[in-house]
Amino acid sequence: MNDDRKYVIRVVIILVAVIFSVKLFFIQIIDDNYKAAAENNIIHKIVEYPYRGLIFDRNHKLVVHNEPIFDLMVVPKEVYIPDTVAFCKLFGITQEEFDESMSKAKKFSYIQPSQFIKQISNEWFASIADQMTEFRGFYPKARTIRGYNFENLGNVLGYIGEINQRQLKADTTKYYKSGDYMGITGLESSYEEVLRGKRGVMYKMVNVRGVDQGSFKNGQLDTLSVPGENLTLSIDLELQQYAERLMKGKIGSVVAIEPSTGEILAFVSAPSYEPTLLSGRNFSQNYKKLTQDSLKPLFNRPLMAMYPPGSIFKIVQALIGLEEGVITANEQVYCDHSLIGDHAPQGYYDIRKGIMYSSNNYFLKLFRRIINQNPELSQFEQAPIGLKKWEKRMNSFGLGTPLGVDLPSEKSGLVPSPELYNRIYGTGRWKVSNLSSLSIGQGETLLNPIQMANLAVIMANRGHYYRPHMVKSVGNSHYLDPYYKEKIETGISAQHFPVVIQGMQDALRGTAGRALLQDVEICGKTGTVENPHGEDHSTFMAFAPKDDPKIAISVYVENAGWGGRAAASISSLLIESYLKGEVKRKWLEDYVLKGDFLD
């Protein structure tokens, strides 16, 4: 009577077998996750980090190198510490830090090494290596950090840091992995791709305890690491060091450029910081301190600070006026003080004299002619047309747009457009008198110091420039991006330059007597920038020697009063140092170092 039950039993057996077959079909054939998980299990990618490229100055002085450091790794399963207090003391950590690191390591894995203490210096490690034998389960892992031979160039070089989540996401090449180090600012960032080299990868098979079981697929997929390329900077370290010394205790910037190439010879943002502060163990501590400093040492002034240019801007007005044909080189213009306050005496002025004495009234009159070129129209109609023309001319001088310097965060400055005034006053409701302060480098116009230096380059080259750059060449092949070899014309005819340059040369006898240097013809222009918040800013741009310019320079010193004092003195000393190799005017040096420019 129960014979049919044998079929029930057989059906159940077959049913179970079918369930197994289907389930196996799913996990073995349809679901790929298991295959991936299996690979993750056995294949350990061992990354070989290449040496980061070294950085030299233009005279082949080593500026940045790699320093070996050690990360202390821990394998929690093997840990044996007879005396935790002694351990903490040896490594200079607190009990809490110890507990935190240990529990983090345990959470990660009991059997695989994880970072316990980061970045122990080579010397320190050597001094504690003997005592370390008391503790089991800790291993040193060698790494490198950036080492610096000089305390200069902080803002130029930048620093390296662990990549963050946002940067990881932004990395479209998928090169970086979490925990990688990359250049964050400065040259380390802008030349990251050449400096970092190429990571090598070895695929190793490991068993469940992480023990090496040989290479995967006989190493077919392995790649060797390629060390990063070295950089040769255009910076002249000696000049840089001298410039930094002169700027000590001041706020401002110095940019010196070789006019014939656009190579940056010196680049100072004052105050700055020592690059070693942002390398190694105390990075986060120092970084915090630097960000909280009210003098903003991390702010890269030559590129990021935007200042009113002041009177140095008159040079540009002069050239635009000549090119537009609204004035000739020798036209005498009578100037009294009726239009605007002025330090220059009343009398007849031409371009050369206008520059020499930095006559505000002369340049305001010139500016009006530039703007109002269409006498048949009303002033309100003329102003936007004239300003548009002016703005275009400005842009051709590399103003109002970034110059393309090979450093991150370059600001474009501000060249006001008709649209700006339309917004301020309303369309058709402003005329040249609303723009007066533009003529003398006050008002809305803002330049960053490197643009000012580039103006000096344009003067030196009589009408063209090369994009300023910090790196002279990359690697052993001395490669330089063609972008930096391109000659950029300003559209100002060469014939207009001599008279302006003559004015600049005479200016040293006019407004910048301190900058005079025996045997060297320096052409310069002072600027005293009105500062509603405090003392005026002192600025100076110059190039020298007059006939075969080797150096173009701009100096900007905040709250230092007259351009003819602080800025002109510093420029002159740097020109002397660069061209003559030594500074003989100790009195001037002392004057600058003393830093007391206000009467």
Binding site: M1, A17, S21, N207
Partner: protein
Amino acid sequence: MVLIYFAMVILGWVNIYAAVYDEELANNILSLDYNPGKQLIWIGTSIMIIIALISLDYKFFDSFAYIIYGVVLFLLLAVLLFGREVAGSTSWFELGGFRFQPSEFSKFATALALAKYLGDINVKMDNLKTQLIAVGIFVLPMILIVLQGDTGSAMVFAAFSIVLFREGISPIYFIVGIGLIILFVVSLLVSKTIIFIVAGVACLVVIGASVKHPKRIAITAIVAFAVFATVTSVDFLMKNVLKPHQRSRVISLINPDADPLGAGWNVTQSKIAIGSGGFFGKGFLEGTQTKFDFVPEQSTDFIFCTLGEEQGWLGSMVMITLFVVLLIRISVIAERQKSRFARIYGYGVLSVIFFHFAVNIAMTIGLFPVIGIPLPFFSYGGSSLWSFTTLLFILLALDANRMNVLVR
């Protein structure tokens, strides 16, 4: 039948070889220090057992069934007192360098005793006393084995209920039993309140539909109470009856990611190994997961991982087919027996092998909590191989003499 047996044993050995294969050991892997070498000895001794069993008078099993059962019970008791503790279970005897598990032998002994008892012509399956005694025969060794701490092996004895089913016990028991198991699992997955609401609504609907049948209402009430009791006892069962490691195995079955490096490790790694096998597998000795020890217990309880990874779905199918053919074949053999004793014994064999097969595979692919029971004929281990060999070949010995029964 014998062919299937040898096919399985050889396949099993090959897999054990693969499971522990290591290039450095390639030359002496057959030495007695390693599992494949030892397994060769077990296979050899198994063949001796086969010869002994076949040459024994078939009447021996019938006559000595209770005695063998008694001896095994005694051994189970003895091992509790004098046994050696291995991995939390005192289920091993150790004689010299040689260990064996009496619980393995209790399987065929119990099958014999059950067959002997139910084979008596005077025994009627629908008698409650008969049912109790029959259940008692396999529950007794089960309890002893649970006491040894080897819950997995003990659970095997529950499989003997298949025998009772074949012999005509009321299917109600099975329906209720399976119902309770389903309820148990559901209550682990779903919140209790939901179950109560669903059950309550169902209950009211049934009662509403059967107002005129008081008996149905009574049954519904009883079922409802049983549901209520089971669901509320789940927590108690989980917390107080199951040991922590058993509880975590149940939890990790339901949610393998709960503790992937702890309780879930075995199953996760086992599934990874099997799942990475693909259709054709990675090839003999090419399994990476098993070779590099990611799967624990890979030559014993998790031997299927090696097969699944190296031979893929195809290999797994071959193995499952072998088992299905074997089990159906045992059923056919059992059915053609003239004596009730031999038939019932046959189903005992079927029950045990089926249970092992089903539960072992199910646990490696994450369909069942991990309980440490071997895959018959495949897993490494002397006791289990001997045990399954004995189980199977006693049946074959009986089958060979089935005509003689008719003569008597």
